[in-house]
Every structure is written in C-alpha cells, then in structure tokens.
Symmetry: D3
Subunit: 71 residues, 6 copies
C-alpha cells in the first residue's frame, strides 16, 4: 500500500504526462517491491515557480537568468 | 503539538465539511493522546483529480469509467 | 481515497492508541465526506523530541523547562 | 542535499517575501550544517485559510473572530 | 528539479531494492518531463506497520488476519 | 501559524545543530512574514543515506564514490 508524492514545478505538465507519471510510478512499485497496484496512491503536487527555490533563488529568477543568458 | 495533514481529491468539499474535518481530527488527538488542542494543527490539501492516481490510473479517468459504467 | 498523515512527538504512544487514531481518522473521512474506508490511508509519523520545535525551542528543552518548573 | 518545506496560510505573501524565505532557509542549512546550497531545495506551500485549522477551528473563523473582537 | 517521496511499510526492503526505486523514479521524471536527473531528489520513507492504517485497521493487524486466514 | 519541515540525511546532526535549525527557521518566519513564534512548528526529518537519492543514485553510493575518489 505505497503512497508516492511527486512534486514538480507548475510549468505546463499535461494530463497525459501526469497520467504517465502515475502509471510509471505504480509499475515501479509493483516491479521492485511486488506491491499491489490497487492500493498504490500517486499524488502529483505542482508548485508555482515563485514558491520553489534551489541554491537560494526562486525558479522564477533562475528561468529569467537562463532566458537572458540565452540571448 | 500534533500536525495532521488530510489529503483529499478536489471534488467540492464545502467550508462546513472542512471545518468538520478540522474539528474532528483535533478532537481525536485530544481524546486518544490527550494532546493540547491549542497547539494542534490540521491542514487540508485538496488535489486535482488529474493529479491523483490509484491502481495506475488518474481519478479523473476512474470517475469517467464509473460514469460510463453507470449508463 | 484520502491520505491522512498524523505527525506526533515520539513519547510513548502505544499500539492501541495508534490503532485508535487510525480507526478514528478513517471514520471521520467516512462520516464527513462519505469516503470509502477501503481506500483511506492513515500514516502516523513519530518525531523525536529533539527534532520538533515550537516557539523556536525543541520539545526536549520545553519538557525539561516544564519539569523544572514543576519542582 | 536538504529539502525544506515551508507551509503558510495563503494571506498575501509577496514574491519578494517568498524569495527572502528561500534565501534565508538555504543560508540556514549552509551555516548550521555546512550543506551545499546548489542541492538545497526550498518549497513554499500556501494553504487557504479554510483549509488550515488550529485549536479545532479554521483560520478563516479565527480571523473573523479577531476582526469582530477588534471592533 | 523534482522531489519524489516514496512511502512504504517497513517490511524488509533491501538496499538494492531502494536503489532500484531511486533509479526508476529518477528515470521516470527524465523520460516523461525531461527533468534534469542531477537535481532530482527521491526520498524513501519506511513506516512501521503499527503506524500505517488502511480501511481503519493497522497493517500489523491486517498481516495477522491474513496469516491466520492462510492456515 | 507556519509549519516547517526540514529533511536532511541522517549523518550525525547534533542536538545543538538541530536546536539551531529550529531557532533559525522560526526567526526567519518572524522576520519575513511577521508570524507568531508561539504557533510556529519546525520538524526535522533525518533520512538514512540508503533512502535518499539524487541523480538516480543513493547518497550511500555517492559518499562511497567521493571517498574512493579522494584516495
């Protein structure tokens, strides 16, 4: 009866991509630990880029810096 | 000083229902473990049905299948 | 298909108390939101008192202060 | 490679305040535990006041009571 | 920069199985969302069977019932 | 009434370091968002290095590789 939480930035994941994450994570638990898929939960949590930080900066700022660097 | 997180699909829980979950979870911690309600937090996390999976499928798809099966 | 996490300090909750928390939280979701108990998960997370802080102090220190104050 | 989750009520935190939380939490992990900021994640989770309870009441209700008390 | 939490009951997952979960979850995020593995975290949380409930019962009790039913 | 979770690998953080994390995180919420420290929770979650992955590998393996590389 596993519970999997997948936390990603909210940057346009489609319903089909979310369905693929859910299917893939469930299959992983079945394959590796022989878990029952019927009681395997997968929850996707999409986080605004203003609300996610790495290396002390928001992802919003990192995306801006990358876009500026690409000019 | 317990912390309770209740994760449900976002399918129309009303403010009154949320208040009942918060009151009930707090009373449970008081009754079972004699916790102080003043420092008991309850947080409700509503998750889109596209973002919740069970048995490898999104709840969106499971709800569609159930609706189709009901015809 | 709710998921409930109950986070408490590790201070001797018994198996019977944990079972009461699990039963009570499940019944709450059934009563308030008509959820299916068969797909309701409850997970209890016990946290060492050195690892839980409130008001900027560890619970370990708060318990010591309370014990000293009680003399 | 720490992961920090900061859960607050959704009551108007600005992008600049969120950036300050992310920077401050990252610096804290560097200062106290000598962690590498490049692999330090900070995620801010803003929760509606209807969905956060303390002392068995929603924050929505507590804010109303405080406003009424202030008259 | 995804963060994945995999919560399972503590029932003897081996280091090799944990490594397989970590590798598989990382590959899933790369394949489905083109995420950078260098900033993909996977955290496995093993929960005692006394602390996990489903259908209002602890997993400890469900395992006992299954063992008794198998006689 | 914020709730902060700090997840780190279990690699010998001392009680004094944990107390510093709790104090620092609480002060951060007070300084940036003017939160009440009396209702600010900080929970530290220490994760075994076998149970934490980055870039598809366990931290246990990354630490071994680093130690071997240092010879």
């Amino acid at each position: 009866m596993p519970y999997v939480q997948i936390q990603i930035t909210r940057e346009g994941a489609t319903p089909a991509q979310k369905a693929a994450l859910i299917q893939g994570a469930t299959e992983l638990l079945v394959k590796v630990l022989n878990k029952n898929p019927a009681t395997t939960f997968v929850v996707i949590d999409e986080v605004d880029t203003d609300n996610w930080g790495i290396a002390g900066e928001t992802v919003t700022r990192l995306r801006q810096a990358a876009a500026e660097g690409g000019r």
